[in-house]
């Protein structure tokens, strides 16, 4: 138990003392995750909305694929992206392996189905009615789209927050494609994994506390938004 207590003490010192490496890693993690979430939002929201609204052949199969992809094993995603980006891979000439770009790609592959799936689900349940109501009130196509997005704003926010939460807590895929290189591709989760294996519990716990705080803040924001904007 002593080593755990010592670990917590060291963690507090690193956090309160604004340890440069720790905070650089925190900032880099959040930046990478925000970027990949943004790309996922740009891809996921239109796909989620359109596929939720429209009736098309194989919609059932499509929904099963999306729901399956929401639970993609991260290391498998990491492996697939690494196979594509490695020197011998089809995109090896781009030299993206072990770069932040590769990490963003891997995170985007993981997060996009989560955003699509959440939005698809909500749009399937409520979207058609919302779209029709705006049409019957005389809205043009752009106005209907804005109306739909506005009415589904809580669902969209939850999807985006879930996506970001997934991205920032990801370790498997980004360890493979990023390599956890100090000062270059090291993020909070890979830092925790590395320091834990080295027995540096103080550093791991410090980063773990920060990750928990981020999760807590995210959930608190989501709850406040949902509460003030009843579904």
């Amino acid at each position: 138990m002593d080593y755990i207590l010592e670990g917590f003490q060291e963690a507090l010192k690193l956090i309160i003392g604004f340890d440069r490496e720790v905070y650089r890693i925190i900032g880099f993690s959040i930046l990478i995750s925000m970027f990949s979430t943004l790309v996922s939002i740009i891809l996921g929201i239109p796909i989620g909305l359109i596929s939720g609204l429209k009736d098309f052949h194989f919609k059932k199969a499509y929904s099963r694929i999306i729901y399956t992809m929401m639970g993609l094993p991260p290391v498998v995603v990491g492996l697939l992206v690494a196979l594509l980006l490695s020197r011998r891979g089809p995109l090896g000439h781009l030299e993206m392996m072990y770069t932040p770009t590769a990490m963003i790609i891997a995170q985007t592959v993981l997060v996009t189905p989560i955003i699509i799936g959440n939005i698809f689900n909500h749009t399937k349940e409520h979207g058609k009615m919302i779209y029709e109501v705006s049409k019957t009130m005389g809205a043009n196509p752009w106005q209907r789209l804005f109306f739909l997005i506005n009415e589904l704003r809580v669902a969209l926010f939850i999807a985006m927050a879930s996506g970001f939460g997934r991205a920032v807590s990801e370790v498997g895929a980004i360890m493979i494609v990023g390599g956890n290189i100090k000062g270059h591709t090291r993020v909070m989760t890979t830092y925790i994994a590395m320091n834990n294996s080295m027995g540096n519990y103080g550093s791991s716990i410090a980063m773990g506390i920060v990750l928990l705080i981020i999760s807590f803040v995210l959930n608190a924001l989501m709850y406040k938004y949902i509460e003030g904007d009843a579904i």
């Binding site: 009615m129 919302i130 029709e132 109501v133 705006s134 049409k135 019957t136 009130m137 005389g138 809205a139 043009n140 106005q143 009415e151 704003r153 809580v154 904007d229 009843a230």
Partner: protein, 211 residues
């Protein structure tokens, strides 16, 4: 606006809903539609409102096909109306906003309609938290605020109290006299069908009959 429905057929995959129906709904008319569940009444209304397309046949509005201008002159009330996640007043204002019509110009009109339907005291309340009857009244106010030429209502008085039924009927009759709005209402209420409407149309076995 006169609505002419010519040889209209509607199928969902292989399931026949409406079979080669032809009817005319005149401007200013007051029509009650009845029929058993699943007869195709709602589908017919949805086609007139531009929410669905017929499998074949035509629907014309004063001789023209449906376009964005005509669409702005029609309104359709769902059986269970959707309330925007905002106040009652904002719900009623929405059709005016999307037409670029200023609240200041229509302030009195919005106020009048809220008083008529006993909604004024609820104007700042979140519309999603209203009772079923109150939601129906908000939906009606929202449908009427921009003075449509065609009003289609799908069972507006089902599942609401007598007071709300009376309020809705009074409002509709008043608008009929004042605005010459063509109104078509789906209802199972035999009293309404007998006492309220100029013409009752029955939808049965995929066809329509004037009663």
């Amino acid at each position: 606006m006169n609505v002419m429905i010519g040889q209209l057929t509607k199928k969902y995959k292989d399931h026949l809903i409406l079979d080669n129906i032809t009817i005319q709904l005149k401007a200013g008319g007051f029509y009650g539609f009845k029929g058993s569940n699943g007869a195709g009444k709602s589908t017919l209304f949805r086609i007139i409102a531009g929410l669905e397309r017929p499998t074949c046949g035509t629907v014309t509005y004063d001789g023209e096909k449906l376009n964005s201008t005509i669409l702005k002159r029609i309104t359709y009330m769902h059986q269970k109306p959707y309330m925007m996640k905002t106040s009652v007043e904002e719900n009623i204002l929405y059709p005016l906003k999307i037409r670029g019509l200023g609240y200041e110009i229509y302030r009195q009109k919005v106020k009048d309609i809220m008083f008529e339907l006993d909604l004024y005291k609820l104007r700042t309340q979140l519309a999603t938290q209203l009772s079923g009857g109150e939601m129906q009244k908000v939906a009606l106010a929202r449908a009427l605020i921009f003075e449509p030429e065609i009003l289609l209502m799908d069972e507006p008085t089902a599942h609401v109290d007598k007071q709300t039924v009376q309020a809705i009927e009074t409002m509709l009759l008043k608008r009929k006299c004042q605005d010459h709005m063509m109104t078509a209402v789906i209802t199972h209420d035999e009293d309404q069908l007998v006492n309220l409407f100029e013409q009752v149309i029955q939808v049965e076995n995929h066809c329509v009959f004037y009663v």
